[in-house]
Amino acid sequence: MAGTDHQNDLAFGRGSWVRGITWTGLIFLYFPIIVLIIYSFNDSRFTSHWGGFSLRWYEIMWKDTALWSAIRNTLIIAVANTVLSTFLGTLAALALSRYRYRFSGLYHKTLHMPIIIPDIVQAVSLLMLFVFFNFTLGLFSIILAHASFSISFVALVVMARLAGFDHRLEEAAMDLGANRWQVFLKVILPNIFPGILAGALLAFTLSIDDFVITFFTSGVGSTTLPLKIYSMIKFGITPEINAISTMLVLFSIIAVSGIHLFERKT
């Protein structure tokens, strides 16, 4: 937009108050993370005082096999959940935004439910469901549990993208000889792909991040990273947790930068 980045001379947002509030907000958000990263290089066993620079906690983390198995579980669940919920969520979005049928309004509203309902309620109800059907708790139950809420997020993100899709493009494609399937593959899919990708990333992040629902639906040998960190804290906070967290932050920064690069290209 040519008009929106125009700077005027009204000096909105340039007062010292606004600056003060902005900096307070930024410090509140990032100061704890910066402290956490600094203390991951602490040579001391305790997080309360500084004992000199060291990489020993990174070494301990590197050799912690239980931790690596938790990371592996987390990634398996996240990838499986992403594939499952992106596929189903995209189909749901297409059905809901393209067609009007009986109860389609109701279906649309139920999509919002997993976002509104508290995690703990969902967690308990999923656990009861799995127990009722004698379903073995483990990686597979966690994947299903994660998909049950990720689908909503994917569907809503893709629907937002579809809302901006010009349906006359479909007519144009058909006019030029494309059948329904070709219209979908050559015109609809490329245009909503950024939405699908955003939905997939959201599903992936939600899955890696989730604690409450995972806690209730996990079984023996399916400990994920958040569950592992939680159990480690119960035995006292060591800088190893800081080291793990630092690696997660680093991973997130790399991932987000990657997405930005991709977005700039397209």
């Binding site: 007519e171 006019d175 000889g177």
Partner: protein, 360 residues
């Protein structure tokens, strides 16, 4: 040859198109002209295959298109909104139709490049549509449709979004292009000027049906109804008292007793059901009496509407009715003694060959 037979399209109780019959010849530049809501877009969409007629048939070279879906019709559309694929560059947009019909890659390359030259866009092949101006996007849409060498090209108000200058330029280009490629063009517009400048034949639509069809000058000079007359340009109307046929044409007595001549053969009808119509540019103002070959009525100038190249003078005649007279601004306006001024008494004159009679 495209034939529409008894075409009807209903939206609930509202009939967008009703019992429409039309035959369009090969290589014709045909224009459907009408105000918005007259059914011209619906007609076009039925020809393209986006809408199914509720009744009637469409025949293309004798074969019924009833069960032919849009993507299998050898008809392409130029959309008002352009509808270019935003994720594909200019080349791929134009190549889309050829790829759908599995044309060999080498041939696609040649045909798209030729088409880019035809619409004067060579060098823009790699651009995305979003990076083009409105006129350039317009030409890509044209190229994307024409490259498929359709039997018929449908154009849905393609110039509506362009600014005045570009529109005039594109009108000329479109007409030239149509002659060059030799494809039937069906053009819909609500802009009378577009229709008059480009079309071989014009059909004027109102309320879902065609009310007049003919050559541009026929439609302009001999409109069949007051709707057609006032939709295409402006027209002054006068009531008739009596109508007498003479050797050269007709003699009309106006209600105030003035007699005017119209040197045309006119089918006889009851003068109460007719109006005499004449266009503003067919009238002239004069300070001297009309020539023998002219009709003349006295009046005085009420006011002038200035358009730059010309002015429209509103003149009140002796019988209290007003007429609009177009006056070329041959002299610069200002204090020229020759200039007509408001309040001045003048004659309104016109050739006895100009004007027409049309039903009330």
């Amino acid at each position: 040859m495209l034939e529409l037979r008894g075409l009807t399209k209903l939206y609930g109780d509202f009939s967008a198109v009703k019992d429409l019959n039309l035959t369009i010849q090969e290589n014709e530049f045909f224009c459907l002209l009408g105000p918005s809501g007259c059914g011209k877009t619906t007609t076009l969409r039925m020809i393209a295959g986006f809408e199914k007629p509720d009744e009637g048939n469409i025949f293309l070279n004798g074969s019924d298109l009833k069960d032919v879906p849009a993507h299998k019709r050898n008809i392409n559309t130029v959309f008002q909104s352009y509808a270019l694929f935003p994720h594909l560059n200019v080349f791929e947009n134009i190549a889309f139709g050829l790829r759908m019909s599995h044309v060999p890659e080498k041939e696609i390359q040649d045909r798209v490049e030729n088409m880019l030259k035809t619409v004067a866009l060579d060098g823009f092949a790699q651009r995305l549509p979003g990076k083009l101006s409105g006129g350039q996007q317009q030409r890509v849409t044209l190229a994307r449709a024409l490259v498929n060498e359709p039997k018929i090209l449908l154009l849905d108000e393609p110039l509506a979004a362009l600014d005045e200058k570009l529109r005039l330029q594109m009108q000329v280009e479109l007409a030239n292009l149509q002659r060059k490629v030799g494809i039937t063009f069906i053009f819909i517009t609500h802009n009378q000027e577009e229709a008059l400048t480009m079309a071989d034949r014009i059909a004027v639509m109102e309320n879902g049906n065609i009310i007049q069809i003919g050559l541009p000058d026929d439609i302009y000079l001999k409109p069949k109804s007051r709707f057609v007359a006032s939709f295409i340009g402006q027209m002054n109307f006068m009531k008739l008292d009596t109508l007498e046929t003479s050797d050269e044409g007709v003699q009309i007595t106006l209600p105030d007793g003035h007699v005017i001549r119209l040197d045309q053969s006119v089918p006889l009808a009851n003068p109460d059901e007719l109006r005499f119509g004449i266009r503003p540019e067919q009238l002239r103002m004069s300070r001297t009496a009309p020539l023998p070959s002219e009709n003349g009525l006295k009046g005085h100038i009420l006011n002038e509407v200035y358009y730059g190249d010309s002015s429209i003078f509103v003149v009140q005649l002796e019988n209290e009715s007003t007429v609009s007279v177009m006056h070329q601004n041959y002299l610069p306006s200002g204090n020229n003694p020759e200039s007509f001024i408001e309040g001045e008494d003048i004659f309104v004159c016109w050739s006895t060959r100009a004007g027409c009679l049309l039903p009330e």
